[in-house]
């Protein structure tokens, strides 16, 4: 996985499911927080949508608000699967930025 990715992801085969754990680097500003120095509200900047695919097929999506913590952590599980399957995770934020990463199941 490239070092400049905002997503760190691990996909591990367990008994009858794949466990996916991801850490995303993102400010997750909800637009309600005052900037300590200027006293102005920090503009809203948060991930709105998450999509996860297994071997190119969507298995989970999520819609988020600014209530998810800064540098979001996300863990979820996919039924079945096997070692070598490809898990992809993509996010899109309220400013239209996006990033995605793939990982093979270990």
């Amino acid at each position: 996985m490239p070092d400049n990715s905002t997503i760190r992801i691990k996909a591990k085969k367990k008994s009858d499911f794949i466990e996916v754990k991801a850490l995303i680097t993102h400010p997750m500003e909800n637009g309600l927080r005052k900037d300590q120095e200027t006293g102005n509200l920090a503009p809203a900047h948060f991930i709105e949508e998450i999509e996860c695919q297994l071997n190119g097929q969507v298995v989970m999506t999520a819609v988020w608000g600014g209530g998810i913590s800064k540098n979001p952590y996300l863990a979820f599980q996919i039924k079945g699967g096997k070692v070598g399957d490809v898990v992809a995770l993509k996010w899109t934020d309220n400013q239209g930025k996006t990033d995605e990463v793939t990982a093979s199941v270990k």
């Binding site: 499911f17 909800n30 309600l32 927080r33 005052k34 709105e48 949508e49 297994l54 097929q57 969507v58 298995v59 989970m60 999506t61 999520a62 819609v63 988020w64 608000g65 600014g66 209530g67 998810i68 913590s69 800064k70 979001p72 952590y73 996300l74 863990a75 979820f76 599980q77 996919i78 039924k79 079945g80 899109t92 239209g96």
Partner: protein, 154 residues
């Protein structure tokens, strides 16, 4: 007197700004299915109305909601929701007393295990609510989390 003029100006400016924002956001909103109104809702029931068009929610012991009893840092509160309920379509996480109560909604498929774990912001001590839609019906459970230092005005 001065106050009321300022208030009027402020209101005008706010209305002007909000209509601009609404127009500007229209094409994006039409493309994505991010439920803006649900994230603007100020109460749990308003958010649920937008998300599910229903308030018919049954308390269920079959939802497992894991969160700390006491969160020393409201900016980072670990929350895990899982359930044995069959045919789970969505899992929604809500922090009752946040300015924006809706934290997020996870849409599962037949290939997902009904399990999600994340970290949320909590502005103050309140219930965390997990709402699960399974087999077309809504179920929920909640847990009180005491917040000793609020997180990010959330």
């Amino acid at each position: 007197m001065i106050m009321s003029i300022a208030r009027r100006t402020f209101l005008k400016a706010t209305f002007a700004a909000s209509s601009t924002v609404a127009l500007g956001a229209l094409p994006i909103a039409a493309m994505a299915d991010w439920p803006k109104a649900a994230f603007e809702a100020k109460t749990v029931s308003d958010a649920l109305k937008v998300l599910y068009s229903s308030l018919d929610v049954t308390n269920s012991p079959d939802i497992k909601l894991e969160a700390p009893d006491v969160a020393e840092n409201g900016a980072v509160v670990p929350v895990t929701v899982s359930t044995q309920l069959a045919d789970v379509e969505t899992i929604t996480i809500i922090a009752e007393k946040n300015a924006v109560p809706l934290i997020g909604q996870f849409k599962l498929t037949k290939n997902s295990v009904a399990y999600v774990s994340t970290r949320i912001k909590m502005a103050e001590t309140s219930h965390v609510v997990a709402v699960v839609k399974a087999g077309g019906k809504l179920y929920s459970t909640k847990k009180s989390v005491t917040v000793t230092a609020g997180g990010c005005g959330g």
